[in-house]
């Protein structure tokens, strides 16, 4: 049975897909009645505090826990040796990232601490406060080693090698090349270039990383409540490394206070908690505090990129050539690896544009700093900033309007499917239409005219654009083919209960973006019941189909499709039973808002509840060989395209105060094409949240380090996150180019805002500074950097 979903026909039966419905979870959250990991209290629960290395690079000598163990309420102090006996190390590499290398990692290191903030011992006590008291009393004799903290020199001969067995500090290197870049630059009419920096920063989830682990000695099962985006992946990892069968490990997610990729990775301290729970046979809770978070949550986006772009005499881009260098931590992070960000940069630069020659290199090197890994939008903000920065330079070099230059060079909307020079396959994008919509939404002509007038009065307003592509709905080509046991497929089980209510269990997960809401909408429409009788189960490896969780914007496109298929199958099964009960052909019936109806006339034949009663309690009244499976499971995996690429374009309108260097964000726009939109309200809010997160990296957020490898921003006072007073209103528009890979046609949207915002901000600032001939390319664009660019203060 096929289901044609026309987003325009909102009066179609059970029309929930495409509607801006409020989330069912929201009510309890606004009443403060959510349940996050730290809210869970179980009998005999213990607490962990970690002793963390104060040094960026040091040999761990003797660990003296005697004073710590002497404090009342302290039960154990574990070292690397203690835990290594119970946990196998991991190595975070992917086979398809050729040549990638990283050192084995344990929950607590055995001999050497390799970043300031690395957990080196674990204290277990009956309260967090006492555990912290004890941790302060653990005495470690350190032998400080020279730290590696400059990525530019990480591969130089004099620089110490962090893991001597690896031979050098090189993790991964790749050149992505097509066409003839050398020739293109040789014969170019114009060449523009710049060196871009993306500043290392981090996610700052308001709920810190949290885990409550229990090992039941009665049945040898490990039960974890974890603030994670990928419970099945964690189940897999814990089973493998703690040497348990998969069936003995259960990972449950309840409410999660923000994740954005921070909580999709394997953290050694969290694994340590699971190991400790197994050893002690008592529930053990760990919640990172904010100080720990800055020193141990993954960081991201520490890049230096040299970029060049060639343009021909017709104003057409002919080549991009980029050289990316990124410094990660001392280990690649498990299991998604820390080379993906650099790899994405070389896959995505130039993405929206039609040009033949491409060369992109990434070099990923180790550093004695907090490990880095995937964080919302991963390599996109960097690739987009480089691309769009060069594009604006190109427009300026030619003396033409940046919108006009883009229109001249964007891939045309009717030229798909096609493959980019970087090798990315696009099914269907809408760059031109999106840009057109954006220009209308923002009254571009009006803003330009106003800018001119205000310039005459010494007011520096800027308008900046960023076209971007964004990968969503990942196939096994992202991780699976590299050997990582990360699921690209997902599943949903839909069940009609005796009273006609519906339960849907899904392998995709919720962290506030609205996963449960959209699954509910899809299932309600697919089955044919009122939305408020549908209940969704997420985040439990034991009770949901095996899935991948939520990351790389896969919830709607992959999880949603599995839910749709399962819902359709469940409806079909119900109609088959109804046909038998009503002496009608199942094809002549439909299920609409909880009633079996005559398809042609819409006349109600029987409530679904009646069918439920019969199937579950009076099965004797049905034909003996009639199938009556009111519970159907379907799985979905994308098969044709490695990613469902989406596209969008953003604009920033801002004002730079050239006396203070402060930037006032006047307004922001984003036009986003994520295919079929299941809930426009939720998509808009994801875009807005993503934009502000991108703005954070562009203007405020920076994990700065001393040369000795000390993180110099340790608290929310120093590390500046975007707050309400500085953020603009953000208007969101949509184009819908559905994917044909699925019935639902949905692509992903969660990371688009972050992908394009930094580029739009950068281009707007440089547009504002145009009268001064000044440019900024190093994020964050602080007041000092802006003032230095225009020569009001010296460069530091």
């Amino acid at each position: 049975m096929s289901l044609v979903i026309d987003p325009r026909s909102v009066d179609r039966p059970n029309s929930y897909i495409g509607r801006s419905l409020p989330r069912p979870n929201a009510r309890k959250l606004v009443e403060g009645r959510g349940q996050y990991v730290d809210d869970l209290v179980v009998p005999r629960m213990l607490h962990v505090a970690f002793v963390r290395s104060p040094h960026a690079h040091a040999q761990i000598g003797r660990i003296d826990a005697s004073a710590a163990l002497g404090l009342p309420g302290v039960l154990r102090v574990f070292t690397g040796q203690d835990l290594a006996a119970h946990c196998d190390p991991w190595v975070a590499v992917l086979a398809h990232l050729k040549g990638m290398k990283s050192a084995p990692q344990l929950p607590l290191p055995l001999t050497t601490a390799t970043w300031a903030g690395e957990a080196v011992a674990a204290v277990v006590a009956d309260s967090r406060a006492v555990a912290e008291d004890a941790a302060a009393k653990v005495s470690i004799s350190w032998q400080v080693l020279p730290p590696v903290t400059d990525m530019e020199t990480a591969l130089d001969k004099p620089t110490p090698v962090i893991h001597p067995e690896l031979g050098d500090n090189l993790v991964f290197e790749r050149v992505n090349e097509s066409g003839n870049v050398a020739e293109a630059f040789k014969t170019a009419h114009k060449v523009v270039e710049a060196t871009f920096h993306s500043g290392r920063h981090t996610g700052v989830t308001l709920e810190p990383r949290s885990i409550l682990a229990e090992f039941n000695k009665g049945d040898d099962t490990l039960n974890i409540h974890h603030a994670t985006q990928a419970p099945h992946m964690m189940q897999e990892v814990l089973a493998k490394h703690l040497r348990l069968p998969l069936s003995a490990v259960r990972v449950i997610c309840r409410d999660i206070g923000g994740s954005y990729g921070i909580k999709v990775h394997v953290y050694p301290d969290e694994v340590a908690v699971a190991v400790i729970a197994k050893i002690m046979g008592r529930p053990v809770k760990f919640v990172a505090d904010r100080l720990e978070s800055f020193g141990s949550d993954i960081h991201a986006r520490d890049h230096r990129i040299k970029g060049r772009m060639a343009i021909d005499a017709q104003g057409r881009i002919t080549a991009f050539d980029i050289d990316d260098l990124t410094g990660i931590g001392p280990y690649s992070v498990y299991p998604r690896t820390s080379a993906v960000e650099g790899n994405q940069v070389v896959n995505l630069v130039g993405g929206p544009y039609d040009f033949p020659n491409y060369r992109a290199k990434t070099t990923v090197v180790l550093q004695n700093k907090v490990p880095t890994c995937q964080y919302r939008a991963v390599g996109h903000p960097i690739a987009t900033a480089v691309t769009e920065g060069l594009v604006d330079l190109g427009a300026e070099a030619l003396g033409i309007d940046p919108v006009a230059f883009r229109l001249k060079n964007l891939m045309q909307d009717d030229t798909y499917p096609r493959t980019s020079p970087a090798g990315m396959r696009f099914e269907g994008l809408s760059h031109v239409k999106s840009l057109g919509l954006l220009v209308d939404m923002m009254d571009y002509r009006g803003l330009r005219a106003q800018q001119q007038l205000l310039r005459a009065e010494g007011v520096h307003r800027g308008i900046g654009f960023a076209s971007f592509i964004e990968l969503t709905n990942p196939s096994p080509f992202m991780y699976g083919i590299g050997g990582a046991r990360i699921s690209a497929q997902d599943g949903c089980t839909v069940r009609i209960d005796p009273d006609g209510s519906v339960v849907a269990a899904t392998g995709v997960t919720e962290q506030g973006q609205g996963t449960e809401a959209i699954i509910r909408q899809i299932v309600a429409e697919a089955v044919g019941v009122p939305i408020d009788v549908v209940r969704v189960i997420t985040g439990d490896t034991l009770t949901t189909p095996y899935g991948g969780g939520t990351w790389a914007c896969r919830g709607a496109g992959i999880g949603g499709e599995a839910a749709l298929q399962a819902g359709i199958a469940t409806k079909q099964a119900a109609l088959n039973v109804a046909g038998a009960m009503l002496q009608a052909a199942p094809d002549a019936l439909d299920l609409v808002l909880g009633n079996i109806v005559d398809k042609a006339t819409g006349a109600v034949r029987m409530p679904l509840a009646e069918l439920g009663r019969i199937v579950y309690f009076r099965g004797d009244t049905l034909p003996p060989d009639l199938p009556r499976e009111l519970m159907q499971t379907r799985h979905f995996i994308t098969k044709q395209f490695p990613f469902a690429f989406t596209n969008g374009v953003q604009a920033s309108h801002l004002e730079v105060n050239v006396d203070t260097g402060l930037v006032t964000l006047l307004k922001h726009w984003c036009v986003e094409d994520c295919g079929r939109i299941i809930n426009p309200l939720l998509v808009d809010e994801q875009v807005r949240g993503g934009v502000v997160q991108g703005i954070g990296g562009a203007l405020f957020e920076h994990c700065t380090y001393s040369p000795e490898g000390q993180l110099t921003v340790g608290s929310m006072v120093d590390y500046l996150v975007p707050m309400a007073a500085e953020m603009p209103d953000i208007e969101v528009g949509h184009v819908e180019t559905p994917t044909k890979e699925s019935l639902l046609g949905a692509k992903g949207a969660g990371e688009a805002g972050t992908a394009g915002a930094p580029a739009a901000i950068m281009n707007a600032i440089n547009d504002a500074l145009r009268p001064h001939g000044a440019k900024v390319f190093a994020q964050p664009f602080t007041p000092e950097r802006i003032l230095a660019a225009i020569g009001r203060v010296p460069k530091r």
């Binding site: 008291d133 302060a136 203070t660 402060l662 500046l720 007073a725 007041p783 010296p794």
Partner: protein, 292 residues
């Protein structure tokens, strides 16, 4: 980030505070609004053995106008109370103008002027305002009371002239005379942040002219910094662009800013110059008229 262990005592009179402090032998800290102390305890920057809660000591509360022509503000006056009090608005409006710049509403509801001055953060607004208004800090201890001029109260980074056994009882401000002008300007990355640089300015109105102003910077040194040379270069008003430019140059004599996360010394000096122009602009404008 749980605080280390300590004992807690509540004091209801000054005598009790002095006694408890003496008995703790210098290892006690005073809890007023707690907006700075609790954070320090959480970071274990501070690990006292005893916390003495002074938030109920009546002698530290209240706002009144003294016959001497001073506004007396009790140390436990919260920022919220300060900005809302009619006497403060009438007699020391600079304080009411400064309060909205301090952090956020939840902090202002509990943070106190006594706490702010005793903590002496170099980037805080109220210490600079006190210096600009030539306030005197009434310190009290077992040996009695004394008035410490604001100009000499702040002795360095997080350091004050209070003796170990003293606490701030009140702050007294000369009541504003008719025509007196005062203003505060600051530059922050985000609303409510500690200032990258800030300036509290005051000028007296005599014979239809504003006199040489008092300029007190914050966020650019170890405490409030009086920009005497710049102020003298301005002299009495009106302040022409030429005078302002001259004063800006002379700021280099007054300020020797250390670098911080927002910028190096040159950045700080530059911002100080920008603030000078802004403050002077606001001072020289009739009340009710917006400065450019």
């Amino acid at each position: 980030m749980k605080a280390g262990s300590f004992r807690y005592e509540r004091a209801y009179t000054l005598a009790e505070v002095f006694r408890l402090r003496r008995e703790a032998g210098g290892d006690a800290q005073l809890l007023a609004g707690g907006q700075s102390l609790l954070a320090a305890l959480a970071f274990r920057l501070s690990e006292p053995s005893l916390i003495i809660d002074i938030s109920r000591v009546r002698d530290l509360k209240g706002v009144s106008v003294l016959p001497s022509g001073h506004l007396r503000v009790g140390a436990l006056t919260t920022h919220r109370e300060l900005a809302a009090h009619p006497d403060v608005n009438r007699h020391a409006p600079l304080l009411a103008e400064a309060v909205p710049l301090i952090a956020h509403a939840a902090i202002r509801n509990r943070g106190t002027i006594g706490g702010s001055l005793a903590f002496a953060d170099a980037a805080a607004e109220l210490p600079a305002c006190c210096v600009a208004l030539e306030a005197r800090i009434i310190a009290t201890g077992p040996n009695g009371e004394r008035a410490i001029p604001a100009a000499t109260f702040f002795t360095g980074l997080f350091a004050t002239a209070l003796a170990e056994d003293e606490l701030i009882q009140a702050v007294e401000f000369p009541c504003a005379a008719p025509g007196d002008r005062a203003t505060i300007v600051e530059l922050t990355r985000r609303c409510g942040d500690y200032a990258m640089a800030g300036l509290a300015a005051w000028a007296q109105h005599v014979d239809a002219r504003l006199q040489t102003p008092r300029l007190v910077y914050f966020g650019v040194g170890a405490g409030p910094v009086v920009a005497g040379a710049a102020a003298r270069a301005l002299g009495p008003g009106p302040w022409t662009p030429h005078k302002v430019a001259e004063a800006q140059t002379l700021l280099d004599r007054d300020l020797d800013p250390p670098p911080d996360q927002h910028g190096g010394p040159e950045m700080k000096r530059h911002l100080a110059r920008v603030l000078l122009a802004r403050a002077v602009g606001k001072l020289g404008v009739e009340p009710g008229v917006r400065a450019a």
